[in-house]
Structure formats: structure tokens, C-alpha cells
Symmetry: D2
Subunit: 244 residues, 4 copies
């Protein structure tokens, strides 16, 4: 996959036969085969694009279909920061939704395997397509199952939950986590945080820590100030570790 970059627009495309229609003309993608990163390519109207290696974010932003409520990169990154999960880990995730959380985690850290549970047929279809488009079909396994009925994996390093009744999965998560493993629950509403924390305590989790992660943008023009309006809230993240 390559990133076609101009100052006012960009595209992530696969190098294969076909035409890309842009507002500045048509690009023959077949021509990309003869090019290398750093080269340029022109539409039939003369608009020039640079051919660039895409980052993980470029691919995810341009190629994936999204649901309206989506966990954001800042929140996914905090999961890495606070659990130390890394390449070689076994991760269980639910509900899949559009697959964003699984795909981002897989893209950043190259885990051994992410198994993601989704019970809603409509999401399964979208997620399957997104996983395929992100090129991660070997790392991410999607199961169309109800995770509240049981988790089939064992010796799991990290369980991530972004679903309505996460508190119903806390017991199962505890059972399948390895000693020293983490459970992380993402939830937009504070009532969910409260239910989940109480269930985590009942089931024996340690180091329980619910947090909000607020990124505040600044503008630096003639003078500097925080931007007037911004994202005040996405969701709460609740972390817990299995220690005993």
C-alpha cells in the first residue's frame, strides 16, 4: 500500500491495476508499479502527488469504515502505556464493533494474536472487511460469539472490553488472564465505570484505576492560547491487574 500525498489531499491505495478518481483528475494506479517511494505521479489533469510510505495511522484513517462511537487513538495508546502489553502478547477483545481497537493495537505492537468477540451480525461484517483491508487477518481472529457466555482462550496477557455490559465479563476475564495480566474496560458513561470497578473488586483484581484522558489542543498563531472549543470527553478507561 502507498500514500499519495499532495498539500491539500491524500489517498491510501493498493498498487494494482485500476483508476483513482480525484477532484483534480484521474490517476492510473497501474503506473505505480514502476515507481518507488519518493517518486511523483500525475493525474490526467496534471495534479502531482508524491508517493510515500504510509504510517499505520494513514492506513487506518483512509481504509477503514467507522461506526459513530469509536474509541480514539489517544485512548488506545493509554492502554499500551498503562499495561505494557507488547509484541508476543495474547489479547482478547470484545465487542469488536468496527474492529478499531483490535486493529490499532495489532498495528502498534504486533501481538502474537488478538481474538475479538462480536455478537452482532451487522458489526461482524464491517469488522471483517476492516481487518482484511488493514492487512492484519493473520494476527486478528474475529469470533461471532457472545463473550458473556465464556472466553475460550487461556493464559491471556490482556483483555480489553468496549461493550454495554462489561461488568458481566469481569469474572470470565479474571479466570483466563495469566498472573500479572491486565483487564481494561472502555466506557462512555460513569455508571459503567462504577459497576465495573465494584465487580473487579469482588472478583479479586488489584491496582484498579479508572481514568479520563483529556487531550487539549493549543493554537500558536500571532500569540498562543488553548483552542477555544474541544473534545471534553470520549470515554473512561478502567485498568485492573490480576496479581493473586
Amino acid at each position: 500500500m502507498v500514500l499519495l500525498l499532495s498539500e491539500d489531499s491524500s489517498f491510501v491505495v493498493e498498487v494494482r491495476k485500476g483508476m483513482l478518481h480525484t477532484k483534480d483528475g484521474i490517476l492510473d494506479l497501474g503506473n505505480l508499479k514502476k515507481k518507488k517511494f519518493g517518486d511523483r505521479i500525475k493525474t490526467h489533469l496534471g495534479k502531482e502527488f508524491k508517493i510515500v510510505k504510509p504510517t499505520v495511522n494513514d492506513i487506518l484513517e483512509k481504509k477503514l469504515k467507522r461506526l459513530p462511537q469509536i474509541i480514539m487513538p489517544k485512548d488506545i495508546a493509554l492502554i499500551l502505556a498503562y499495561t505494557g502489553v507488547s509484541s508476543g502478547s495474547l489479547i482478547v477483545d470484545a465487542g469488536t464493533g468496527s474492529g478499531f481497537l483490535s486493529i490499532f493495537l495489532a498495528s502498534y505492537i504486533k501481538p502474537k494474536k488478538i481474538v475479538t468477540y462480536e455478537n452482532d451480525r451487522r458489526f461482524v461484517k464491517m469488522a471483517r472487511e476492516n481487518i482484511k483491508n488493514s492487512g492484519l487477518s493473520k494476527v486478528i481472529r474475529l469470533k461471532q460469539k457472545d463473550i458473556t457466555k465464556g472466553i475460550e482462550e487461556k493464559n491471556v496477557d490482556l483483555v480489553t472490553l468496549d461493550m454495554k455490559n462489561s461488568e458481566k465479563v469481569v469474572r470470565n476475564a479474571y479466570d483466563v488472564l495469566r498472573l500479572g495480566g491486565y483487564l481494561v474496560v472502555y466506557s462512555p458513561y460513569i455508571e459503567q465505570v462504577i459497576s465495573v470497578v465494584k465487580e473487579m473488586e469482588r472478583k479479586g483484581f488489584s491496582n484498579i484505576k479508572p481514568v479520563e484522558n483529556i487531550v487539549r489542543e493549543w493554537q500558536v498563531e500571532k500569540f498562543a492560547r488553548p483552542k477555544t472549543v474541544g473534545l471534553m470527553h470520549t470515554g473512561f478507561l478502567t485498568f485492573a491487574r490480576k496479581v493473586k
Copy 2:
């Protein structure tokens, strides 16, 4: 390396001959050779520890020497989130300091190479030791050089700066970054943000975005509320991309 875990204390140790002195007695580390993850081990006073696979964070927290002003995991994770840097990337970093930023990035994403510049001899020694103790000597290369004098790498995916006069490195960073690559500057003070943004604009960077990342902890006991006192500020992160 293994994590020895009890409910009130934990240690990261290497599996080799030697004695570990804890407040609850002495552990013969040689005995770890016959054990596997999930087993238990006892001190000569009978205190039991579980033998657990350490996460990246366990290793970094327990084995590294720190400087007082250190970039925190939440801020390092945001660099991943906003640049999409991933395995296979070439990263240039300065100043090394204790090596935390390099070591965390290397631990999370397994880049091809991180080259980190440090001009202060006292830090070089500490960083070298930390890189060795984190087992990342093959990925991280430490150069005792003044990065304001020049960057020797080419076609770099990400340049990270955590140093006093970051604005003096912006031009060099631009020159060695690949198209589509990122510069990220960490700075505790707002004056540094302002200088860096203005220099980024002069040198032609795009998508310039200075942010603060505030993590707010909640306590959920009988009732729930944000913790009364907390970290209001660590540092600003300024992101910029080379697009033209």
C-alpha cells in the same frame, strides 16, 4: 527476566546465580532455573512469590535508573497514537537523558532502529546502563554527540526531541525526515512550544499540533468522584509532519 509477585511487593530479576535480599527474607535466584511461569518460590523465611512473565512496564519500572524530570508513559503513548510509527521504523531521538523515551518506544513497537543523541557525558553513562538492562542494545544506538550540529541518519520516519533548545534541531529534522515522516517535540514550558511551532512553520512543516495530555484519576469507593489532587501538567507535545 521474571517478575516475582506477592500481594505487597514485587521484583524483576534475571534468572542466574545469586541471592535477592527482601524485607521478608532471602531468595536463591539459582532456583528459578527449575521453575516455569505460574510456579511459586519461597524466601528462607517462608514468604511466597509467584513467578510471572513481566510486562514491558514491569521491566522498565523496576530495572531503570531515572532522572527527576522524565517523560511519562501517557505522553510516550500519545506519540504512537498521533504518528502511527510502528515496527520497522527508523527513529532519531535527542536528548537521551536516562533513555526512557527511546526504551519505551523500542519496547512498545520494535522499530528497526532508534538512534539517540546525548551530549552530556553524565547522562550517557546512565542511559547506556538502562539500555543494557532493558535488553534493547540491538535496537537502540546511543551517540554521544550534539544533535544541533547535525543528524547523520537519512530517510527517518520519526524524530523525537526532549531537550532545551529543540527549536535549533527543527531544520535538521526536516532535512533527514522522509516525506510523510513526523517530528515530535516534548517540552515542559510553553515558551518552548511557541519557539518550536514558529520554527516548524518557517521550515515548511505541515499539520502542526501542540497539545497537552491530562490523565485524571477517579476513586470509586462507597461513592465515585475524581481524585482530589493529581498531576495537572507534565509537558506539552508538539506534532508536525513533513508533507512537501
Copy 3:
């Protein structure tokens, strides 16, 4: 003045002859003379309004003309909270702008006198009208003068500044403040905060404290969460006291 209140709209009107045109019909304001608070009145189309005593905020929100950049009630209230200024105080203010800061302070605390300086003729006109409409002409005195040229009042309890070069007024403010009096500077940009703090230190002010005041709204519907988007920044407030 009375507040005419319905569930979907409200008006602040004076009790005098005249017609009020609303989207739900015309109200004969002359009829208000025979009514008292708690009574109802109807438009010619039958829409009913309750006749209510307006609060200070009702009057200010409905009767004053605004400039785009306006200091907000939350920030004005913090001036009260941190200076303890109260009825009987002498306050000097600049620049007047639309008069909001003066009018709110006067409305809340009934000071002896607020003298407000404005050098720009266009603002003077708007402010004069706003002061008249708020019924505070006896408390607020508007001077069309450049406050950087000098402050004519003596023994002042509080000086408030919301203008471009506030740092140029710090020396004059110090000279006219009584011992124990306060200077408060409102400024959208951080560079202004920095200049002002440094000038305050040079001129001998104590207890210098720059702050941001962030109000975060929650939504409580089926479940509770902070509102997704909100005001991240209005301006910085810098407080200082004359102690020696």
C-alpha cells in the same frame, strides 16, 4: 424591568407604553402596569407569558449588546472569589469594551463606584448604552481616556484590566491601589500572562497567581457523562496583591 417567561422563550422588558412583537403574537406592554409578579399576560394570539422578577443575569443577557470576545460570568465570578471585593469598594477597570465586566461586577456586589477607562470611541458608545440599559449609571463612570497615560483615582480597592497591553498599566495600578488591594488581569493569550507577571514582580506586587478556570458540563440522561464537546479556554486570569 420584568422578565416575561414561557417554556420556550423569554423577554426582559421595561414597564412602559409600547408593543412587543414575538413570534407568537404581539404583547401590549402598557398592560403590565396593572399586573404584579406571578401574574400572567397573553399575546393577541393567545400565547401566555408569566410575569417574573428578572435576575441580574436575565437583565444582562437580554438587554446588553455584546462584542464577540467577551469575559464570561464564570471568570468575573472568580475575581470576586479571589479578591473578596465587596459592596463599598472602589474599582478601576479598563478597557471597557462593551462594559460587561463593569456591569457584572456592579450588579453582583454594589460597589461604591466603578470607574472604567476606554480609549476607543466605537466601544464608548456601545458601553454607554449598555450601562444605561442595565440601570447602573450611578455606580459606573465611563471615561474616554487612555489608561496607560495615568489613573486619576486614589485608594483603589481593585483594578481590573482586559485590554491589549495590560503590562503597561501595572505600574499605575500599583501606585493607585490601597495597601491590601488587588490587580486582576484577564488575557486570552499566554504571552500576555507572562509579560504581566514579570511586570507585576518588577513593580513589587505579592501573591501573584495566574490561573485558568475551566467549567465542564455533564449530561445526565439515561446515563451520565461529561458533554463530548465544550469550552476548553476563555482566558487566563492573573491575580496580584499590593502588600508593601
Copy 4:
């Protein structure tokens, strides 16, 4: 009352016979009778204090006994900002606690009357003393009664609640508020906010708005940055208006 001010300490004292013992010597308060604001006075060891008019905050900070959990000036000020309550208003408050909320509101705005309900005998004693020491006995009336049993006032402009079961007072508050009047509830915990909002909706309140008010301090020394550690949370304020 006068404020005795030196660069390293300050006292609020009444002008009457008596001795003030400071760490820098003894002051004969009787001598204050012959002095006026701006004069100086010395202890028997030669330490000099300036004689200054105290602000409302000086008096409250120096003269009042406090309970550990106290509503802060920033939060009290927001009540003014969002309700527009002003001089001449009738306010009902509960529970009194140490009396801080009543005393601050009374000090800032000179209402016609604040009636404050407290059921706990221990607090009543402390509050009575604080009200007396603040010189507001004519404005604040303290009733040792359980406000959940009923509110005796009528045509109230503002009801403020800072107590455990505020939701039990919402109905009574609605009944005694004038049209256009406000109910404001202060609560440390989010569960209280949720109960109160739901009860406000059931009882017919409009414009229901729960908020947090976060004041973030900056330090401006050689360079500027937000202070590292600070107050992340005091309490939530929930506003509602009686419109129908």
C-alpha cells in the same frame, strides 16, 4: 475590624482592648483606636505591621473555624455567576455546616436574608460562632431544623444545598421558589449528581445543568508552565431553574 499586614504574616483583629501575641512580639490592640488605615503599628520587639482595610476574604480566612470538607470560593462564586442572585434576594441554604456558603454569599452580595438549616447540633454551635465573627448576624438566620421535613420560607430566590440527601429536598425547594428562581446543589460525588438531576426532572425544574469547575494554576518563573500538581476536584454543582 482591621487587617494587620507584614510581608510574612497577617492578622485580622477587632479594634478593642487586648493584646495580640505574634511570633515577633506582642501588639497592644488598644493602640489601634488612635490609628487610621495606612498607618503602621509595632510589636514590643519592633516588628512593624501596616494597618489595612480587610477584604471579605481576609475576614473569612482569618476569623472562621473550618470543617475539613468545605465548599470553596471558586464554587461559591460560580453560584453567583450562573444564578445572577444579587442584593435584595431571599436565599435558603442547607446544611449549614460551618456556615461558609452562607457567610460567603452574604458577604459578596448583601442579600435581604439568608435562612440556613442545620440539623446537627455540633455544627450549629460552630456555625453560630462563625456567623457572629463575620458580623453577619442580621443577614443570616440559622435554624436548627431538618430541612427534609419542610421549608418555612416562601417566594425564595435561591435555594442552595450542600448535604448528604439533597435529592430529598428538591420537591420542597420547588414549592417555595418563586417563578424564575434557582436551586443549586453542591455534591462531591457523581451518584449524588445523578439522583439530584433525576429528581429535578421529575419535579418540573428546567435548564438543569451539572458542572465541574476546575481552576488550574500556572507558574511563571524563568519560563511558564501549569503547576505540576493541583486540585483536580472539589465538588459538582448542579443548577436548575423553576420556569413553570
